[in-house]
Structures are given as structure tokens and as C-alpha cells.
Symmetry: C2
Subunit: 134 residues, 2 copies
């Protein structure tokens, strides 16, 4: 799938405002956007570090994917997203290689990107997202 | 601390060779180095994706940090490393801001970098590494 770079790293937090304080005031990064993604039941905050975004994720519902993740594993790194080209065509290839797809076709994610998730069962425990600019 | 980019993402795996197959043969990345870091009881494999390295980590001992992590949480993303300048001077500042340091002074890590870890207790569950080229 030849990713060009790490598009973002998703981090599950209980309280977005408190986590933003850490990344802004102590790590010296600038939060350039806060966005709610109702589809994923999350509120997100973005920071740019070189080519890569840090995406903080707070669940807006206990039964959302981030709420469940925190309940099971606690706060922490939730997923890695790679930027790729030709996403739609790559998914059937990955499936043929034995990768379990969460999304069989690209769907819309935060920041208007086309995204698809690969199941961590087939990627050694890493929830892996692929992203492409529309 | 104004990181310039995400230097690497550390991923804990049970079997380095099997994980390398995924990243090389399916994700299309090139493993450019395999290195043992006895101090950390790990064998590591590195892949470059844009500015960022993927660092796969296999424990060489059940009582090493990666062995313990996998026992507790399973395989998956273990830590994020930010590239910073002036690492030694930044650590006392971070401690003053309430960040719990695992390393009070920089030490040598993989690839000859000067590194220091911040405790996930004070970074919302994210084991955070800071790196600087010597």
C-alpha cells in the first residue's frame, strides 16, 4: 500500500480540554482545530507535528468506540493512520492478502478525508487507518 | 518542548520476523535495520514512512519492558517518540511542569539517539519518548 507518511496518531483521552492543555502549554504544540465526528461518537482536537497530526479523541458516548477502548485499556494511543494514494483500489488487495478490513470501502472521516480501518487482529494489535485526501 | 516531528512510533510485537513480513510484503515498506538494544531487552526493526520511523519491538526477555507490556495489554502501539532540540535542558522544565520523568537525564537509545521517556501517568496514558540526534 506504500504509505507516503504517518498522517496522524489517534490518542484516546477522557477529557479533551485537559489533554489539550498538556499538548499546548507543556509540549508547545498548537491546537488548530476541534471537530465533532458524530458518526464515530467522538470530539477530536488536532495538532500538527512535522508531517503528522496528533488527534486527541474524547468519546461523546460511553458506547462509542473510544469510550469502549478506554473502558477496556485505559487512556492512550488508539490508532495509527497512514496516508496512501488510491485507497479504494488498495482495500481489495489488502483483503486478498489476508488483512481483515473494518471498512470494505472508503468512508468520510475527520477533516473530510477518505478513510478505511484495518482490523488489529490482522495487524499485530495495531488499529491501522488508511487516509486519502479527496 | 516544541517537537519538530514524530521521530518514531514504537510497536510491541511477539514475533519480529512475522511482523516484518506484514510491513514489508503487504504495507510495502522497507526494513532498513534490525538492531538489538540489550539495555532495553529488545530486538528492533526499523521502517521509514515519510519523516517517521516505525519501530517494531520484540522482547528478548519476558521480564523486559516490552515483554511485560504484551503480557498486560497484548501486542500493539507501545510509545510515540518526538524529535526535539536541546533535550537535556528540556527535562528539568518538564519536571517543573508536573511531568513525571522516567529518565531524568538523556541516555543512549536505538540508532545512537539521545533519548528520555516521560511517564504515561502524566501524559494521559501515552508513553512519550523524546529523542535528539547527538
Amino acid at each position: 500500500m506504500n504509505p507516503t507518511h504517518v498522517e496522524h496518531i489517534g490518542i484516546a483521552v477522557k477529557n479533551l480540554d485537559e489533554a489539550i492543555q498538556l499538548y499546548e502549554n507543556i509540549f508547545g504544540l498548537k491546537c488548530y482545530q476541534v471537530e465533532e465526528v458524530p458518526d464515530q461518537k467522538v470530539k477530536t482536537a488536532f495538532f500538527m507535528v512535522g508531517q503528522t497530526k496528533i488527534e486527541l479523541l474524547e468519546s461523546t458516548s460511553a458506547d462509542g468506540p473510544i469510550g469502549k477502548f478506554i473502558e477496556k485499556k485505559g487512556e492512550g494511543i488508539h490508532h495509527i493512520a497512514f496516508a496512501v494514494n488510491g485507497l479504494a483500489a488498495r482495500l481489495p488487495y489488502l483483503e486478498k492478502q489476508g488483512i481483515q478490513l473494518i471498512d470494505k470501502q472508503p468512508r468520510k472521516g475527520a477533516e473530510g478525508l477518505n478513510i478505511a480501518f484495518l482490523h488489529p487482529k490482522s495487524t499485530f494489535g495495531v488499529l491501522t487507518e488508511l487516509c486519502e485526501k479527496p
